[in-house]
Amino acid sequence: MFFNSLEDLWLMSGHGAFVWSCYGLFVGLLALNVWHSLSQRAQALKQVRAIARRVK
């Protein structure tokens, strides 16, 4: 590893806040997208199932 310790990894010689917030944004916003896509699908499935049951 480039850093000598986990603490060094966290602090990144003073730039820690910037780097970690950026990675957090990347992961966070994309995870939000994935979650939203999943919940959209779940809702649509519920509706189609309701229609399918009525048709039967």
């Binding site: 910037f18 950026c22 990347f26 939000l32 499935l45 399918a52």
Partner: protein, 254 residues
């Protein structure tokens, strides 16, 4: 029907069938998910903990590993969106319009990530959170373009018309993107005192370059996954009256 029809191979028209897309999309999804997870995790860990620090910027340059992929994706997704819309108009494919619509939110997200990470990167590099840097300004304009497409889509209630209208807007926007980039870059060199570029890519050693590649590939896989998911959801929403869907294992196997 367009006169271009006879030239297009069968698989092209097959893709336009909602049933076919739903099936194959569903089969491909897990693979894209796996690839995205592995590539992004690997890329981020490498970029954060194993790549050497930059000579000039120190550790803050690691932001590049999320900023650059986001910027690349923000532009490719816009072009993809416009292309999908064009296919929808020319070949009258509903699925193409659905794909275009799926692109809007994903592309806007990547653009926002590029913008925010770019601004945060600016602080340790240039001392301020916002600089009218050519790339950041162009990215801001791109975000406005996405916002415009989103707003237009929501304003038109009939989905077929909405698809066509946003396709026209996306196409006009795509033609404009290089013009906008050129003019903003030109404007920037006029006013910029320093010549440092935010994403300067000098010849990078492999240890620095490979994680970037991993991140870009992983981001594309994630994009593919999200487009498949969202398009299949739209298929669910619009095909609820069809037999193939109501009898599909996804629906019946409750």
């Amino acid at each position: 029907m367009s006169s271009l029809d006879w030239r297009m191979p069968r698989w092209f028209h097959q893709m336009g069938s909602p049933k076919w897309f739903y099936e194959w999309g569903g089969r491909l999804q897990p693979w894209f998910a796996l690839a995205a997870l592995i590539l992004l995790a690997w890329g981020m860990i490498w970029g954060l903990a194993f790549a050497p620090a930059d000579y000039q910027q120190g550790n803050s340059f690691r932001i590049m590993y999320v900023h650059v992929p986001a910027a690349i994706l923000s532009q490719s997704i816009f072009v993809t969106m416009a292309l999908a819309g064009a296919i929808g108009i020319i070949w009258k494919m509903k699925v193409a319009f659905m794909v275009a619509r799926s692109c809007i939110a994903i592309g806007a997200t990547f653009t926002a990530i590029a913008l925010l990470t770019g601004a945060i990167w600016g602080k340790p590099t240039w001392g301020t959170y916002w600089v009218w840097d050519a790339r950041l300004t162009s990215t801001l304009v791109l975000l406005f373009l996405y916002a415009g497409v989103m707003a237009l889509h929501q304003a038109i209630s009939e989905s077929q018309t909405a698809g066509k209208a946003t396709a026209i807007l996306a196409l006009v926007g795509t033609i404009n993107i290089p013009i906008i980039k050129y003019s903003v870059e030109w404007w920037n060199t006029l006013h910029q005192s320093s010549s440092f570029s935010l994403t300067e890519k000098p010849t990078m050693p492999a240890e620095m370059y490979v994680p970037l590649l991993l991140m870009v590939l992983g981001s594309y896989c994630l994009f593919a996954l999200l487009v498949l998911m969202r398009t299949r959801t739209q298929i669910l929403q619009t095909q609820s009256q069809t037999k193939w869907l109501t009898q599909h294992p996804d629906i019946e196997g409750v």
